[in-house]
Symmetry: D2
């Protein structure tokens, strides 16, 4: 579709493995295209959690003042996923801007080395209670992205 | 984000209105970014249904031999949606190819005239039981897209 | 299954109509059993919203100090639902206790008069930030339930 | 609520562990009550898959002639789950009838020994293409349930 080669695990830098659910499959017997974004969304959230971005305790959102607003997502689908497959989400950072981060994401079915889907996910950081106001990417996150997601190994 | 103007209802040609659900809202109190694709997916399916693409009776899939495989989707998020908003999905066709269709989609919150999100959704037509084999866009669908979705009014 | 007669619209007192989504259907081509609870959950939330239980503005949760904790739900499935059906959720209150409310819920497919599924949903009211502490059902809600949901018309 | 003691892992006989997703959490920051049924549904499906009930290959539904229709489900919620918790689904069979199976299900948060939620799930076996006609529980399944789910260890 895009003329780009299909990504492999080595093209990504950080991984988390998720389970599929019976109801992810639609009438055609494959994971519905919508659910791929749930894997993207959950993969990014797990990375942010590891980076301490939801407070010192897991999901202690009361203490969070800067949040990442999702402004753009995209997915290219190469091959089907189906329950009961596991899905490994691979992340890398393609652009770490002043107030935004572009995550690139690959989904890997079971033990496959080639991605079954790839896309991106752009967060813009804003003040939690005044969301029209962009803020710098928090330092803690900038450090985590730099250490763990920038440039393929 | 993209430098393009935000779409309005007049930029789209076919519409269907959907309800939001309590669980669409995530911890930030807005419809989660994943659900936007469920509105896209449902909007396209409602159009295909109206075009008779699921058999003569509603969702009579046994008789369907050609299916649209989703190969790419994307969404740009401009403003939040939240339960109990209604969502009007607007469709237009940006490219009607030999075996593929690119739908452009706008989501409109309640009575708003400006889109709160826009994106696209590309279907490639394949043989239902031999999905590596592309087939021409079915004639009935080509006629419906031409009549109802091509070129803004 | 239960020996009880299947409910009809006249057995319920308050109604809201919701749309189904393409991905609600599972591999058998019917709305998956899980989604029925999403209709229950959304029906109750729409009633609570109408009763002013989410703050003076829609979903102004910051101002809410008492929340309904779901402690028990159940559903009996009589007949299938399938996208693109509409679902009308009917509610009545079977028991309005000191700190709990038992909603009885019927789901009606399109224009059908007989329920395709019925169940219940029990809320216990607790202090929002101290959820082990039950509180009385808020007066505003008690009044709304008494006026609109108690005893079939 | 029910006067019954909260179940522990030892009360169940077969287990599968699933991941939570970011969007499972609702505005209150806990997994929404609807998703518990997705864990139930997926747990039962994983058991059926292990028992060979979806064909000789994973989810080879074309060859399946008898399907379990869900006729009743219920859940009691004892304590919250929240992303990024893992959920272990425990199953046992409470009643293996001529054409129906009643699964009892416990959900266990992370390493907890006490269930955070418990419920049941009743399947009635019917002919796949003639769903008003009940059929005996398939022998292969009867054997698997007898061996793996009947009576707590």
């Amino acid at each position: 579709m895009s003329g780009k080669a299909v990504g492999r695990r080595a093209d990504y830098r950080w991984f988390v493995t998720l389970s599929t659910r019976w109801m992810d499959n639609d009438v055609y017997g494959h994971v519905n295209n919508v659910q791929h974004y749930s894997f993207f969304d959950t993969g990014v959230a797990r990375f942010l959690l590891e980076a301490g971005m939801f407070g010192d305790n897991a999901l202690d959102l009361e203490t969070v003042t800067e949040v990442g607003l999702v402004v753009e997502t995209t997915c290219r689908y190469y091959a089907p996923l189906a329950f009961p497959d596991t899905v490994t989400v691979g992340l890398r950072c393609a652009r770490l801007g002043g107030s935004s981060i572009r995550y690139e994401i690959g989904l890997f079915r079971n033990e496959d080395d080639s991605a079954c889907a790839e896309g991106h996910f752009i967060h813009v950081y804003v003040h939690r209670h005044e969301q029209s106001k962009t803020v710098p990417v928090p330092e803690r996150l900038r450090a985590a992205v730099t250490a763990k997601l920038l440039a393929p190994a």
